[in-house]
């Protein structure tokens, strides 16, 4: 487990910080799909 570069991991952050930023954005977009699907249940 230790050598895997998790997208949220500190190791990723230190070496490729923009990956983490993009991961944030990607997560947000992914979760937005959840909202859009359920929009009509509002």
């Amino acid at each position: 487990m230790k050598d895997v570069l998790w997208p949220w991991g500190a190791q990723m952050f230190v070496h490729y910080p923009w990956v983490v930023s993009m991961a944030f954005g990607a997560a947000a977009l992914l979760l937005s799909c959840l909202t859009w699907i359920r929009w009509n249940k509002k």
């Binding site: 991991g9 500190a10 930023s21 947000a28 979760l31 859009w36």
Partner: protein, 365 residues
Amino acid sequence: MTKISLYQLFCGILFFQQGTTIIFGFSSGAGRDAWICTLLSTAFGACLVYLFTVLMRLQDGLMLTEWFPALFGRYVGVPIAWLYFVLFFYDASRIIADLKFTINMIMLPDTPEWAVLAMFMLVAVYMLFNGIEVLFRIAGILVPIVTALYALQIILLLSSGTMHADFLLPVAGEGWARIWRNVWPLSVMQSFGETLLFAMFWPLVVNRRKAAKVSVSVVFCSGLFLTVLNLLIITTLGEGVYKRSIYPTISMLRLISVGDFIENLDALGLMFFIVTTFFKLSFYMFGCVFAFRQLAFVKNDRRIIVPLAAVSYCVGITMSNDIVEHIQSGFEELQYYVWIPLMIGIPVLLLPFAWKKSKKLKEGT
């Protein structure tokens, strides 16, 4: 609708802003001038929090994640709102990672971290089930107690004769560049930028206008606490040791010795740490739950809480392999790539839109 009193709001934000600084120290890179850094950060922090409250007032009763869909509609606003959910989630996991290293280092070296963190998470989950007003109520009760203990610590330090006022001199001897370097971005963002989280809770406060005032005044109070803490640490440890310490408060408390009898009081410091960290974690998780509930249209909070806690726990544990990369990522990359854009960038950009909209609403009625 749950109502939170102003006093409770004050206490909640106070604990939140103390956060992990009690152990890690605040702007320790500035050495003996750290207390100046703290004062400056407080000033900037107050401005930042004021900005947040202005946004809150302009939005009139919406919580943070409701601002964006309201202003930008569902295709642009929703992803931005989710971004904040991810932020809160990441910050909550970060706290767990902080705890992971600290508990092992200082208090329980042999206990496996997952067990301790699981306990911590369980209590947090229980708190989440109970609802946000309980958290604020507990904050209201604990603040006087914690303050009294804090004062006790100060008295004990003073009476153990380990303080040297001349460690503070020369003031700003290494120049103001060093001070400013430590004020921005880390010190301002760390406690005060994070207060943006409370934009999730401001709609629940009894009197919204006064909530804004209270929130800004807490900044000053927190700043005072932190400045005093810094002064204590510097006069006891001295600049060289402070800059090199990962846990300056612990080192400082270990120096207390009154009458050769009261010694080794780092347990007291750790108690504070656990309390403030728990509050920070709980607040972040509440932010996550509220955001998810609103954005995913979930009716029952309970279905969110347990999965959220479980995932956060896993993320927190796997986040950092060693303390060095954890601290570095937190002090440097995190600031520039995540916090500044989300805590300052977007709110500032939001301001003109929010202002325009509130004007439109006022003209409309």
